[in-house]
Symmetry: C2
Subunit: 361 residues, 2 copies
């Protein structure tokens, strides 16, 4: 609880602090010490700020509890491992719905808020096909492509995660309140902003890094030249995620951003198979009543896998340690760790660390 | 005339002979000797075949004359230099309209015969914009994208060249007879098949190599998975031409071939500017009543140009000699020679040879 309070207080600091906080936490500094030093740096002339921040944090935690919102701090085992690799991970994820949804292998589908019927149809179809293969669909609950992607995943009986640019109890746009409720059932609605926070224009570019960060790939549909989806694509590239784009009409101007991504080397998407192929996974469409699942196209051989080999059963390692031992940079480690986790060979523990599973059979 | 007769007779031999004929002609063998040896190889047991071939050739030439069709043999100065670089250039080009149109810098626009309104609109717009910038538009006079491209070029007051899979006096499809007539005005309708030849399914893949061969780049619009346009794109790659493709709807299946090309590295086309940029040229839209023209984006400096430098005024060189002297492979030579020709610094002479222009000013 004390840890949570410190993490929530950290999340109330300006965004530039999160990167510093993550650096210090990663090297093992306790959260209260990180908070104290950052508060001192942010508010030299406001000695009361520390207690004020903790008080605001306590209010937020109480508000969350009363609204059945789960707070997942960075140190929690349930904190999505994908986000621990970000330079500026959110100190806390406020979560509605199923926390486990955040750990599923995921693909983000993002695009225009003013999408054409074509864009909406493609988003819904891709999301449905991917969800049916066991991938979680991450998007931003916005009008247009985002909500079509969520709906497509739900229609396929799959899992979807909505990342908001407001508190999880302040649904924006308001007409998506029922969609958010439907997502809660099997998926999750999350935000880094404390409950009660209203949407602000500058929150949306920030939350985009979480959409891409949670995902193994970002698929862009109908992004214009100045679309926010291009920010998500940029975040994905910075985070070492794959970027893919759906082509479309060249006369409407609706696809300039997506085509620009293709020009810059993004993979072209015509169907879910293109995405599965890029991820190196093979989706298995489940029979009715059976949970979707995902298998690797190339059967892994953990005994010769440098990532698996450098983990010792029972010893939890963070990404830096695994990177040092395996010689692989963090962005390349993550997909491999995902796969090992899916196979039940590796398990995540608190603080973004991984442990090799000891198998007796 | 004797030369023409031999070349026409060569064109009546099976297509595999043309590659051999080109090799022998390039090394300086006279056409009558090439014809004699190929006839001997093709028809060992038919000693009369030589005179029969010459007789058929003479008939074809007479038919062409009476139909105002110009026969341009490989040895003619008017034979398009772009085709001389092909492994299997047509021995003769039968031409309606303006022969000079065959020497303009050109772009091919090809695609589906059963194009959607979107495909037709894009073809017409791209062709019009490129033609207005001084590029000739080459296509196959087919239904759909081909005819839309011809029409777009004509509407812009530009030059267009139709390459047929039948004789130039046997227009296929028949409803394009008036389009062919309109093309004759400022452009050309050409074929490698002697006048009177009806369309045959296996003629079309053959003529596709001429569409790409005449052009500096091939733009594919709405090619399905088994579209003939993909043969043209393949020819273009073999010939060292650029291949570009227009994206479109991923749900209709109409664009699978074009998207496949993009996946394989073709440049994405949203507007004529993308094509001009790929060619390294800047189109200048003419004022009313002024002929379209084309300028180089980077001002050439002939005095430091390896292609220009290796040519001696008054001495005609073929591509092999220029390649040897300049150290550049033929596919790279051709665009440069085009540009030097456009600037009036180099002139084509017979037999696919080039000569540096002696300037007195």
């Amino acid at each position: 609880m004390a840890d949570l309070l410190n993490f929530v207080a950290l999340s109330l600091l300006p965004p530039w602090c999160w990167r510093v906080a993550a650096d210090w936490l990663r090297r093992g500094d306790p959260p209260d010490s990180v908070l104290r030093r950052l508060l001192a740096a942010c508010a030299r002339n406001e000695p009361d700020r520390s207690s004020a921040a903790r008080s605001l944090a306590a209010d937020a935690i109480r508000r969350a509890e009363s609204a059945s919102v789960t707070a997942i701090p960075w140190s929690d085992a349930a904190y999505p491992v994908a986000l621990t690799t970000l330079a500026d991970p959110p100190p806390v994820l406020w979560t509605r719905g199923r926390v486990a949804a955040l750990s599923a292998p995921a693909v983000a589908i993002v695009g225009s808020r003013a999408a054409s019927p074509y864009g909406l149809a493609v988003a819904e179809q891709l999301a449905g096909d991917l969800a049916a293969c066991g991938l979680a669909i991450v998007s931003g609950l916005a009008r247009g492509v985002d909500s079509a992607a969520h709906r497509g995943a739900l229609a396929a009986g799959g899992v979807t995660v909505a990342v908001l640019g407001s508190g999880v109890d302040v649904i924006y746009p308001p007409e998506h309140a029922s969609l958010a409720k439907a997502i809660d059932e099997d998926g999750a609605v999350i935000s880094e902003f404390v409950p009660g926070t209203g949407p602000q224009p500058w929150f949306f570019p920030l939350r985009n890094r979480i959409i891409s960060g949670l995902s193994r790939a970002v698929v862009v549909i109908e992004a214009g030249e100045k679309s926010g989806s291009l920010i998500t694509a940029r975040c994905a590239l910075d985070q070492g995620r794959d970027v893919l784009a759906v082509p479309g009409n060249v006369l409407s101007g609706r696809n300039r951003g997506a085509h620009g991504l293709l020009r810059d080397g993004a993979k072209i998407v015509e169907s879910a198979d293109d995405i599965l192929e890029e991820l190196g996974v093979r989706g298995v469409r489940p029979e009715v009543g059976v949970r979707p699942r995902l298998t690797l196209t190339s059967d892994p051989t953990p005994s010769t896998d440098p990532v698996f080999d450098c983990l010792v059963p029972g010893e939890a390692c963070d990404l830096d340690a695994i990177s040092e031992r395996s010689g692989l940079p963090s962005p390349r480690l993550l997909p491999r760790l995902f796969e090992l986790e899916l196979q039940g060979l590796v398990r995540r523990v608190g603080g973004g660390r991984f442990v090799r599973v000891h198998r007796t059979c």
